[in-house]
Amino acid sequence: MRCAETGYNLEIDLSRGSIERVETDPRLTELHLGGQGTAAKIIWDRVPPETEPFSPDNLIIFSSGLLNCTPVPGANRCIVNTISPQTNLFVNSMLGGYFGTEMKYAGYDRIIIRGKSPNLVYLWINNDKVEIRDASHLQGKGAMETQGILQAELDASAQVAAIGLAGENRVYGASIEHASSAAARMAGVVMGDKRLKAIAIRGTKDINVAHPIELWGLCEPKYKSIADDPENGDPMRLDPSNDAWHMENFAWGNARERRRGYFTEDVYKNDVTTTDKARLRWVGCYNCPKMCKQMLELEDGRKFFTKCFNRLIYMMAAYVEDFSFSYEMLARTTQYGMDGFATPQLLAFAVELYEAGVLTNEDLPDFPADNAERFFYLLDITVRREGFVGDALADGVYWAARKIGRGAEKYDHNTTKKVEQVPLKLGKVNFPYYLMYATGEKMSITQIEGSYPQAPEPDLEKRKKLVEGWEAAPERFKKWFLEWEPRVDPSIEESVNITDWNEMMHYVDDSIGTCAWLSSFRGQFGCRPAYHMYNLPEFISYASGFELDTDKLWKIAARNRTLVRAINNRRGLRRIDEAPPADHWKIREHEKEQAYLDGYYAFKGWTNEGIPTKETLNKLGLDYVSEDFIQRGILTSDGGEIREG
C-alpha cells in the first residue's frame, strides 16, 4: 500500500488523444519526495534541450505535493512545471486552493500532459473516468467564468483550473486560475499552446497515511497553533502598516520611484474603506486555518480574490492613487488569466515607452491620456495580441523590448533571466540577496528568499530574544545572526549558507506541497515558521512511511535543486545569465559580487560557469546527469573543476 501518495500518474497525450493511468516507482518518491522534485526528474528524462517550449513534445506537469490530503495543515499546493517560451528554462509555478488535493483524491499524484490538441479542449477527470472533451463553448471565456461553467455542467464539487483569453492567445505572462489561487510565472502560456482550456477534477478516493495515530497527534494541535500565530500566514493580508511598507518601499511606475511618506492618513482611509466595502469574505486554502485571501465584489457584481501585494501593485505601476483602480484591474486580469506579478510591470513598461516617445500614437491609435484608461487599453491589446505593440507586449518585457527595438531595450531594466522582477530598487548590495537574485531559478525572489532575516537587528537584546526560540535555524545561523551588526556585510561563508538554506526550504515545500507562508517564505519575518527542516522529517515520515531525518531531507532538497539547475544548464544557462537587474542596487560592488558568486559556486560544487561537477552530481545520485553532461560536452571528461572563491 502506498502512503501519502496514490502511486499513479495520469499521462495525457493531447495530439493522439490518449489517456493512460501509469503506476509509479516508489523509489522515485524517496529520491525526490514528489511534487516538483519528481516532476523535474520527469522533465530531465523526457524533455531534452532540443525540445522547443512550443513543441508538442514539451510537457506541462501538474503535481500534487506529497503531504497533500494528509492531515498536515497547510499542505495543499499543486506545483506546475514546464519549459517556458519566455526563458527557454524550467518553470516553477504553483496553485493553492483545492486543485492539488482534489487531484489526489481522484487517484493521481500528477497529471503529465504532452502533445497539442488540434482544437480547444478541456480535461474531465472523474476518478478513473478521464475524458478529453471539446471546449469550443469555452473559447474566449474568462478563467474564473470557465470554472463556474464547468462546475455547472459537470459536478458542483469539481475543482477546475483554467486559462483565460491570455493563455488561449499564448501570452507569456498568462496564469492558470483556480478558486482563490493562480499559477503565475509563465505556466499558462504552455497550457494555451497545447490548446487545453481547463482541467476539471472530481475525486472521491482514500489517501492512506503510514503512521495514523502519530501523524494525527502531531497535526491536531497544529491547527490551533498556526491559526493563533501571527508569525505564520500572509502578513500582507490585513495589516495597513504592511501596505504602507510596500507602497513606500516598492518602486512605482516602471520600477522607477520610491515614494517615501506616501501612505498618509488619507491613503490609509482609501485603502480601508474601499476594501472593507468590497470584501465578502476572507478565505484560506485546503486544510489550512489561515485566511490569506479575500474575495472582493465590485458594485456591478464582479467578484475576484486578492492575495499577497497584488492589490497594491497595479495602482503603483499605473500611478493611479485609488484602490478601486487596483480592484478593477484585478477583476479584469483574473478573468483574462494574467500573472499578478509580471502584468503590472509589463503595462508600466509600455506606458514609459510611450511617454519616452519610443511608442507613438501610430503604434497605439487612440491611446488615452488618463493613466487608468491606458492600463485598460494596454491590457486589452496584450491579451488579444492586437497590432504590433500588443503582439510584442504579449511576449513579456524582455522580448517586447527587443521586438519593438528603437532603443526600447534600455527601458527593460527590471528583468532577470528574461523575467520581470518585483519592483525593488535599493541602496547598497545585500550579498545573500545578490546571490539569490543571481542564481535563483524560480525566477521570483519571493520563491527563493525567506528563511533568514533580510536585515540585521540593531538591538542586541532583540537579537538574543529572536535567536532563543529559533527552532528552524541550524546553530551556526543563530551565531551569525547574533553577531550581525548593521552596515556589515555577511561574509562569503555566511552568505552562501544563508542562500543555500533559503533555497532548500523552498525546494522542500515544492515537493511536499506545504505553503510557503507557513514555512520557506515566513522564516524571515519573526523566524517562527510552522514548518522547517527540523520538524518536517517527522511529518513526512509519519505520512509516507519513508525514513527521514534533517540531513536526508536536506540532501533530497539539494538533489532537486541541482536537477533543476541541470535542466537549465543543458538548455544553456551559464554564469553570464546570473545577474540581478543592473539598477537593483544603486551602489554596486562588481568585484566583490563576483567573489561571492565564486564562493556560492564552490560551496555548491559547481564549476565557475555554474555547472554542477561530476563529483557533485554523483554524490547526489545524479550520475545520469553527469554522464549526459560529459557526453554533450557541458562538462569536460574529467567532470569539471571547481575554482575556489
Binding site: 483545492y98 489517501i207 469574505r281 489550512c288 486555518p289
Partner: protein, 182 residues
C-alpha cells in the same frame, strides 16, 4: 413516568465565519477511518462543505438521516439573488444525490457526534479554529419510553437502508449465516 436527564449535543454553525478550509471534512473522515486516522477522504466525511467559490457560498452541512425516497414537493430558496433547491442545505442521505454515502458501498453516512471521542469536542469542531462550528451540550428531560423509541428508530433505520440496498433475501441470507457463526 419518571423523567430522566438526557445530554443534548449541538453544533452551532456560523456561515459568516467559515473560511472554506474544509478541515472539518478532513478531520471527520480521518476520525471515522478504520483504523482511526489511517486514511483521508472527504467523500466519506459526515460533514461536507457545500460550496460555490465563485459566488462566495460556503455551507457546512452534517449528515442527518437516511431516507429511502426523495422529498415530494420541492421548494426553492432565493438568497442574494441566487436560487437554491432545498436539497442544497439538506443533510439527508437520499437517493437523489451522492452526498453522504460511502463512495464505494453507497451505504449512508450519518454524523454520530464523534461518539467514541468521549469527553472531547467533535473532531470537525476541534479543527475549525475560526469558530464557524461551535460545540455545545445541554441537558434535557426525557422519559424512558422516548429513549426506547429512539433506539428502535435507529435500529429500524439501519436495517431499512440495508434492505433498500441489498433486498430482503440477501439480507436474510447474510443474517442467518452470520448468526450461525455466532
Amino acid at each position: 413516568m419518571k423523567g430522566e436527564k438526557k445530554k443534548v449535543k449541538l453544533i452551532k454553525v456560523n456561515l459568516d465565519k467559515c473560511i472554506a478550509c474544509r478541515a472539518c471534512e478532513l478531520a471527520c473522515s480521518a476520525f471515522h477511518a478504520k483504523p482511526k486516522y489511517s486514511s483521508i477522504n472527504p467523500a466519506r466525511s459526515r460533514i461536507r462543505l457545500v460550496m460555490d467559490v465563485l459566488n462566495d457560498e460556503y455551507v457546512p452541512i452534517r449528515a442527518t438521516e437516511y431516507t429511502k425516497s426523495e422529498c415530494v414537493g420541492r421548494q426553492i430558496f432565493t438568497i442574494n439573488g441566487k436560487e437554491y433547491s432545498e436539497c442544497s442545505f439538506c443533510g439527508a442521505s437520499c437517493p437523489s444525490r451522492d452526498l453522504f454515502r460511502e463512495p464505494d458501498s453507497g451505504l449512508p453516512l450519518k454524523c454520530d457526534m464523534c461518539e467514541d471521542e468521549l469527553g472531547h469536542e467533535p473532531k470537525c469542531v476541534k479543527v475549525c479554529t475560526v469558530g464557524a462550528l461551535v460545540y455545545e451540550e445541554y441537558e434535557e428531560e426525557v422519559n424512558e419510553e422516548v429513549k426506547e423509541k429512539e433506539k428502535q428508530i435507529a435500529l429500524e433505520m439501519g436495517l431499512k437502508s440495508l434492505l433498500d440496498k441489498y433486498g430482503a433475501q440477501r439480507l436474510l441470507d447474510n443474517f442467518v449465516r452470520m448468526s450461525r457463526k455466532g
